[in-house]
Symmetry: C2
Subunit: 336 residues, 2 copies
DNA sequence: CTGTTAGCGCTTTCAG
DNA sequence: CTGAAAGCGCTAACAG
């Protein structure tokens, strides 16, 4: 590692004081246009880039933003989270920040992340938090943070949320309008707010069409249990003609169960998903689903976090990311 | 943000000098066991964690490692890269480093990444580099770095590579042993070393079984063009009874093409992939493929990089990650 | 408009 | 074995 050029070197080369160089390079007032130009050109010529540690030490800002995934499983494998991370990354890069990434296993979701304890970052975006004590610690420490897709209710925390209810409403409504009156629902864990909201949207759509809600048509539980959930639905004496899955991943598991049962999509049974991950359009048949603007979630979160970082008394504002039904080939339509 | 406790505070509380605290906390010699214990307990009681910027400024090591994806497309969406990133992350976390992530679009793959210019990281792992000039710059700057899955040949650079040739050899050999004598090959870009190696493995397996190689049975080009590549193969007057795809993603595209052509896997045509991404086992039918130990690639890369960072005269050593055929349901087997 | 100086939090001589 | 002091690279306050 070659020893890099410092502000002191530039000062010497330009025959000025360090502080003058600092002013010139940071667009501070109190310096003549001429010397500023002079200094800038010398700095450029020598590829001067200020040392992050030096700056951070003085400024109390690192210009780093942390991204922390708190999950028991492997969040990066989940295409939904990958896309959110993409959005986060691009917003961070755009603002000339650096992104510090950490995955924390659920059981460690209790102690404040290293990156914030050692003041490596100015704030963090937290994905999939579950642990209340964890959040309380962050609040006490005064760390700026924002939540994406929390796995529990944190009403007082800044967060960016999906318009979940609306999404499943649209999906269910679409099925009903296409002649499906018996529609099943599969998904995840009722304790997770976003899932509960998705279930609600389903219920509301049924109610809207005066279709009675039946507990037997909804199978919840593990996120990855779409296969067995669907099997149960198929075993019902009067099986549904359509299924709405709370996640595309569940829908894809449903595909397998349906296939294994010797049935065909959409001829024998229709499926609609939620999230619109890349796989949705690659599935056979291509999956009709509710699109979530994942990159947008990420970038909005970073924007919010940045204002949180730089304002004294933060106003907690919760952006709701909109949602849209995208029609593909997994739903049998009534001819009308 | 509450103002954090510093080494000075601890010194005051313990009635010793700063330097003594530093020695105690860093296991430096020249300090009595008693005072060391005393200081440690006080530091612990006050949740003292040294400031990263302060340390970095003095030590010339940040304890941060950069991870840079250089690709035209969206690397994080690619489950193959996600898994590599997982491996990198876990190794970094294990060593109490921080991970600084950056995605650089191909056209910007020319200027040294910000994180290294401003000395935020001690070294970087580079995924998917293509640009020679870029690498030369890094070498000149003396940045420690290691390559994963480079898109061009960089013979003198430290890198971790997959046993590609062996993988496609195994895949092709497996098909031939199961009675397939006309096997197609689809995949990506011949200019990419890993792809060229995979093609070589295929050729070698054919040669091994005395089957003549036919250029018409191999379709290269875009990574995402598995669909059209397969269509071309299916149109052949004497179409292959099996296809080996250089990537699982290609194989999945092939699935769709085969399905759209009204054929069935594996009854009408067999397919084997490469990479063993999560989707492979979820596909219908489950895809027989060559498993790559992706997390291992990531963690090995970080281990290598760490020694690179801490040694004066680095010895360039290229770990080869092994590979394994995993049998699933996409190959029609000869009954014997 | 420019330069001097101090200090951010830490480690490392070097005296005592 | 312990403490005082200097300095890493940077910015800000203050004098000139």
């Amino acid at each position: 590692m070659k020893s890099p050029v410092t502000i002191k070197d530039i000062a010497k080369l330009a025959n000025v004081a360090q502080s003058t160089v600092s002013k010139a390079l940071n667009n501070r007032p109190g310096i003549s246009a001429r010397t500023r130009q002079h200094i800038i050109s010398i700095a450029k010529a020598h590829n001067f880039v200020p040392d992050a540690a030096g700056k951070a030490l003085k400024n109390r800002f690192t210009n780093n933003i942390g991204v922390v995934f708190c999950r028991e499983d492997y969040p990066l494998r989940n295409p939904f989270f990958s896309r959110i991370l993409e959005g986060i990354e691009s917003e961070i890069a755009f603002n000339h920040y650096n992104l510090v990434l950490q995955l924390i296993p659920n059981h460690e979701e209790t102690t404040i992340p290293k990156m914030i304890r050692e003041r490596q970052v100015d704030g963090i975006v937290l994905i999939g938090v579950r642990n209340k004590a964890f959040i309380e610690q962050l609040q006490q420490a005064g760390t700026p943070f924002i939540l994406i897709d929390p796995r529990d209710y944190f009403p007082d925390c800044p967060q960016v949320v999906i318009d979940n209810e609306n999404g499943t409403f649209l999906a269910t409504d679409y099925l009903i309008r296409n002649g499906h009156r018996k529609v099943g629902f599969i998904g995840g864990d009722l304790a997770v707010p976003s899932f509960a909201e998705r279930l609600n949207g389903y219920k509301k759509a049924l109610a809207f069409h005066n279709i009675p809600y039946s507990r037997r048509l909804v199978k919840t539980g593990g996120f990855e249990e779409g296969y067995t959930q669907t099997q149960q639905l198929l075993k019902l004496s009067k099986r549904p003609s359509a299924i709405v899955a709370a996640y595309d991943i569940s829908a894809l598991h449903a595909y397998r169960a349906i296939n294994d049962a010797g049935m065909r999509i959409p001829e024998d049974i229709s499926v609609v998903g939620f999230d619109d991950i890349d796989l949705a359009k690659m599935a056979i048949p291509a999956l009709t689903t509710v699109r979530v603007y994942k990159e947008q979630m990420g970038s909005v979160a970073v924007r919010q976090l940045r204002t949180l970082i730089h304002t004294e008394t933060p106003v907690s504002f919760t952006p709701i990311i909109p949602v849209k039904l995208v029609e593909r080939d997994s739903v049998k339509k009534s001819e009308d």
